[in-house]
Symmetry: C2
Subunit: 149 residues, 2 copies
Amino acid sequence: MTQHTCFRHPKDYPCTCAMGNLYRFVEPVVLFLLKCKGRSYGYELSSELAEHALTDAEIEAAALYRTLRQLEKNGFVRSEWDSGHSGPARRVYALTERGEVHLEEWVTVLDHMSASMVRFVLDAKSECSQSETHEDVVGVATLAGWAGQ
Amino acid sequence: MTQHTCFRHPKDYPCTCAMGNLYRFVEPVVLFLLKCKGRSYGYELSSELAEHALTDAEIEAAALYRTLRQLEKNGFVRSEWDSGHSGPARRVYALTERGEVHLEEWVTVLDHMSASMVRFVLDAKSECSQSETHEDVVGVATLAGWAGQ
DNA sequence: CACTCCTCAGTGCAAGTTGCATCTATTGAA
DNA sequence: TTCAATAGATGCAACTTGCACTGAGGAGTG
């Protein structure tokens, strides 16, 4: 990330924006929404994505559309054009069987990851309180200056 | 990710390898280890990283070294050469005050993220069992064919 | 001595990813 | 006519990453 300040969140809020491509977690959420709804299209999904998002980073429409096309390329969803309504045509997506399996794989992965994170947070918090020499200064800035590469 | 098969894990294990740059979670773990140990160097950290890693993706030495340099560039750690021992010289790192704050920001972020993930996993699991038409097929393959962009 | 292996820190590059700006088109309302 | 909302998508510069590789110091072995 080149971006060295996050202009999307207040200054004292540690946000995930600067982590950049972490918004890949778009993929499992899209699969989940398609499973729940049966079928949907990009523009509709984009508004519902935030409710189930795994980070607080804003999800760009561009990323969502590209993710959907890639999911289709990999056989996890299938799509067709739908013009039976007013306004521009919609590319309507639905999960395939492979997509259902893929969602379950994601659930397993996220289950493991969340457990690791919870463990890490506990470890880190106890380590912090252990060597508490200064006041509690949690949440003073954002992750904007994160390391990356 | 180009990589379409994961050769590092058994076939029926949904791994995070294919998620690629997720191993950015190297950063908080490095900060945490430096806080615990006081000071350390790349080669040593690389062996301890796996124990606290937030994903099961292998952490490459190249990524670790680059992360450390970047952390230093951003003022979260500082380093000096140490030759007072046999073998090649080591670049020894220690947390700065900014680094301690940054670690606490990461803890806050990961706390939020883990909560979101736990919620998502619960939602997805209940959704799956709700519409259970086929046997439980969790964990049949890897995330190798994940969508990306 | 030559040879090999381990330790330690990197670099180079092709391929992939992403944020942002921009484009096209349809429809309805002012 | 003009504007706004809906809908999907692309172009590109900048960045990230996996993999292969370099190179140096020291220990052990024959």
